[in-house]
Amino acid sequence: MEIRLKNLTKCFPGNPKKGIPDTYAVNALDITVPDGKLVGLLGPSGCGKSTTLYMIAGLLEPSEGEIWFGDEDVTDLEPEKRGIGLVFQNYALYPHMTVYKNVAFPLTNLRIEEKMLDENGNQLLDEDGKPAVKRRKLTKDEIDKIVRETARVVQIEQFLERKPNQLSGGQQQRVAIARALVKKPKVLLLDEPLSNLDARLRLQTREEIRRIQQSTGITTVFVTHDQEEAMSISDEIVVMKLGVEQQRGVPQEVYNNPCNKFVANFLGTPPINLFKGKIKGNKVYVGDQVVRDITEKDVPDQDCTVGIRPEGIIVDPNGTFDFECGRILTMGRDIMLMSKHPEALSDTKFLIDAFVQVEVGNVKCTVKPHKCFAFSLEGDELRII
């Protein structure tokens, strides 16, 4: 099921009398989530990603715009009629029910449509000549079968008789996913599902989500502020800022080619190093040092912000760029150079391979051109190169 958001806007009205302006949590968002894909909505807190998710779920009403599931406009549809599964940030498992009952609960509300057959197994027709359909509840045995099957997929079979408060965070999360999956939704929505887990469990669980998503093939939207999380499991990520979509694409592509300073700064740990710089004669300067030649196109001379990814340097005694290395952190696979640069907008960090010999003090290097970006100083700080 493809999800299309058209010009989706959520505005929380302010109070003009007290001078509180309207707040746009989501502003004119256009996103298409392809069928069967996992899309991560990514952004810092307050960027409207959860609001977007709740609007898709139907728990919040959009101020403007439309939401389409495939060929169906669901903008004004009640959440229960949308056929979605939602995993809440803190799971919202019913604390008084056992895991089994939690997972079975959506099924007890479900009405399935069944074709009516006569004794010979032929399709009966209703008055309009269409095949007659009977709506009925699921039987206990059917529910039991589906619950156990789903429990197997998310590996919670051994906890079925426990109460949610007797489970660890990761187990609760799997129960929440099971509850969302059990009615075979067309769309699965996950709201920061990993934020309550510790680092190791988070790694494990995000693989789990990926596995479950791929095995079930459900179109999934996933909200997170953790870029690593989003990049590692999403087919596509959407980076948002203050309710506005900044960039959308395959994770690696977005990382490699950020469209503006915000996206470049938001993606990547440690974050990109930013410097005051300028473009002159198709060369990018930081201070009076050339960090990169521009070969792709002609760019007029201007001041700009220069961003260099931490992994974007090669230590080279003949390099044109140098900085003051204050401290060397050993990270195992890499070493990190905690450095200072007079033109830098903040402390800079560079990652280089552990076998490279560096010493505290002045380090000369060349900059990898594809790891170096220049951003305009005006407007949305779009990327120049």
Partner: protein
Amino acid sequence: MANVLGKVKDFFGGLFKRKERVSADAGERNNWKAWLYLAPVIILLAIFTFYPLINTVVIAFLKNYNYTTGLSDGFTFDNFLNVLTLAGRTTTQETIYRWNTTYDAVTKTYTGIDSDGIACTVYFQTDVIKYALPNTMLITFITVPASIVIALLISVCLHSIKAFQKIFQTIFFVPYVTNAIAVGMVFAVLFDSKGILNYIFNLGDSFFWIDRAAPWSHGMIALCIYIVWHSLPYKILIFLSALQNIDKQYYDAAKIDCAGKFKTFMNVTVPMLSPQILYIMITSFIGSFKEYTSVVGLFGSPSTDGGSTKNMYTIVYYIYDCIKQPDTVARGAAAALLLFIIIMIFTAIQFQVSKKRVHY
């Protein structure tokens, strides 16, 4: 083996030592101070709560107790027997044993030998068995569930409306701060044969609710309506504050899970409110076993038929009637003790039932 024994010894030794240390340091030295601080309340409680409590139990077992003189003729179970079967005015102001009696159906009297071997006659007036106990039970089992269900529905409705919520909360809370007798008088006007209720339902002025000519059932209906109405505000207050504490996400989750309004109520709201429901249930069970003021407020007397029977009796009303006369105080004490036992049993049952149904 010796090793294990040694460990056990160490363990208990450790326990003992710890206890010793505590009592030596903080315990012993400051004990008298703690008692001193507690003294005002303890003395007041002792005089006005503990002593009357214990005294009630003692009096219930005293024979021919007279509270003006404080004298009695030793211990007996007669008071309890009186309450349960022979609670009436006896001709000789004496009690007789139940198993020594012969019953005369025409005069409705018992004749027999009392414990001192003197012949006497007793009117068989089972006010407790015939009226007080059934009335109290009926009131309890009608008003408690009814008021809890109604209070729940009202609080859920109140919780879901946005406009005027505060005003409605205030309106619904007003009965709580209104005097029971005053409310009873208003209800007495409402339920009068020429009152507004008969007018609205077009019952004519010969349909009696609480007048002398009213049958028992009409009186009981009026009484139950009155009690339910008067007990709602407190319950609504408790439920409303509990409702406001339920995480809204559970309702969102229920919505996503396609649960209808009623199913959400039964599967989310009620279990989430179960601790409050238990609390309300136990307190209002106890409260309605002690129903008295409502009867006084509504009828002014324990009867709707002018006093020929006490058909609106409740247990506490009976107790009050007993302690009005010096010679029946012991009977009142016995009735109070029996009421206490009944309440204990019901509370214990509720706790047992709640173990499985209440989710904290």
